[in-house]
């Protein structure tokens, strides 16, 4: 049911929404690359990311954040796209590590994608190879900031530019036998 607000109260509701969202970032437990090795230390006792409301979620439908921990092979990209499309709004993507930015050390590999944002929208990048837990937490804090400012618009961008993203995705995934999630 759609509730209509006037302009002022919409602003207030949005602010409350964003506050709530930023303090409950459930991360889909999908370690896609070597970066996944720094996620356990971040999540466990030493760095304890749960202080920020960050914790793991087992299934895409319950998760808010898709943490792309490093390179994606073409085979994984297909699964990641599927996972991302299964996630419910609001959803955010963090590109973790150099290889999500410009290929990193796999810049000449035939099997890994180089620019993550050509295939799915990315809200925050964490640089490093690999990023330390402190950097991961900084990335999440940055994401919280972006959410609070209302700038984390990745999911909307994906919807609006779906054709562009699809074209890029299908350029490398030859056998596109995936269900359509009714965008």
């Amino acid at each position: 049911m759609e509730v209509s607000y006037d302009k002022e109260s919409r602003k207030i509701v949005q602010a409350i929404e964003r506050f709530a969202r930023k303090h409950s970032l459930w991360v889909l437990a999908y370690g896609t690359g070597c970066g996944a090795i720094e996620v356990p230390p971040t999540m466990t006792s030493r760095y304890d990311a749960e202080r920020f409301g960050i914790r793991g979620a087992a299934t895409p439908r319950q998760a808010d954040v898709l943490l792309i921990t490093g390179y994606l092979s073409v085979k994984t990209l297909k699964r990641v796209i599927r996972t991302y499309e299964q996630m419910q709004d609001p959803k955010y993507v963090i590109g973790f590590g150099s290889c999500t930015i410009n290929g990193g050390m796999y810049w000449d590999s035939y099997n890994t994608i180089k620019l993550l944002d050509m295939y799915i929208p990315v809200d925050v990048y964490i640089n490093g190879c690999m990023p330390r837990p402190e950097a991961v937490i900084s990335g999440f804090i940055e994401l919280q900031k972006v959410i609070a400012e209302g700038k984390a618009e990745g999911a909307r961008k994906y919807k609006e530019n779906l054709d562009w993203y699809r074209a890029n995705q299908q350029k490398i995934i030859h056998n596109w036998n995936m269900p359509d999630y009714n965008w």
């Binding site: 690359g33 090795i37 230390p41 466990t44 006792s45 895409p60 092979s73 085979k75 050390m105």
Partner: protein, 367 residues
Amino acid sequence: MREKETTIYLGPQHPGITGNMMVKLKVTGDTIVSAETHVGYLHRAFEKLMEARTWLQCFPIVCRICVPEPDPNEENLSRVIEEIEGREVPERAKYIRVLVLELSRLATYLLWMGGQSGSMGLYTMPQWTVGDRDYILDLFEQLTGGRVYHMYIWPGGVRRDLPEGFGDKVLKVMDYLEKRLKDYDDLLFNNALFYKRAKGVGVIDKAKAQEWGVVGAPLRGCGIKHDVRIDEPYEVYDKLNFIVPTYEGGDVWARAMVRRQEFEQSISIVRQVIENMPGGDFYNKIPNPLNWRVPPGDAYVKTESARGEFGYYAVSDGSLKPRRVHARGPAYVHGVSLLERILQGANIADVSFIMNSLGTCPPEIER
């Protein structure tokens, strides 16, 4: 009542191990009839990339082959080059290498303890062990400059000497870990729940173990005493005292107990290394890396990693770049063909449990 056969896809989204892979299970009820592994989600084509890089440029790459335990890769590649080249390694460098390898083994075992207990729902363990593993990573940071990827062991020795007072720091962490091991015992290894859960699960047939290509802790968990550190001593393992524990049974429990004993042995090795650390050079310098050619030849070397025998086969054609470097990780057998075999008859809940106990590491399978 006839039970219907169902197909379940486990993974690739985090099956509970370090990396992504998928197991396609055919089950009737809760019992697995057959399992089929699907790997390749983490394939980066390392072996191809190495052929396009100079020998030295391979080093930042190889450590990424096995994410939780990068050091055996560096050590292996260094040693295979040294063997082709006939390069001598100073004694001190050998000791430092053993120190790094053993610290890395401890870190891996701590991560494994977390994974093993996490996969049976015991979530306190990962909080402890992964947190404690961080102290070892701190040591690595002090020594090598990197937490996870060290790029520290190089042909001819190691990259930097031990920092001031490093030995004491290591010993302090060793004391701490030894103390913590009692807690781990209370919570996991002496836990009746764990014993009941793990005994008789994921059994490897002792008679078939060698033919199946089982190595490392799973092999010793079958009661077969083999360890590369003893079989073909490398670095200075022949000068150190340690025992290779074996357990009978070939099941998850036996493998866990083997690793627990080895954890203790590793602490002892680290202490011996610190105590006997010789002076002298830590590095027998290679020529200018821009012009460094390795003479033609080939060699096969292996290391006992925390998961088992890690072998490198390298071929040089005398140019600046390797002709071929082939990494053979233990998980290549454990995680694919062996897993398929021993999953038959197990329960669905056992899959991740067994995968953990075999030390399955997809990035190492696919490279």
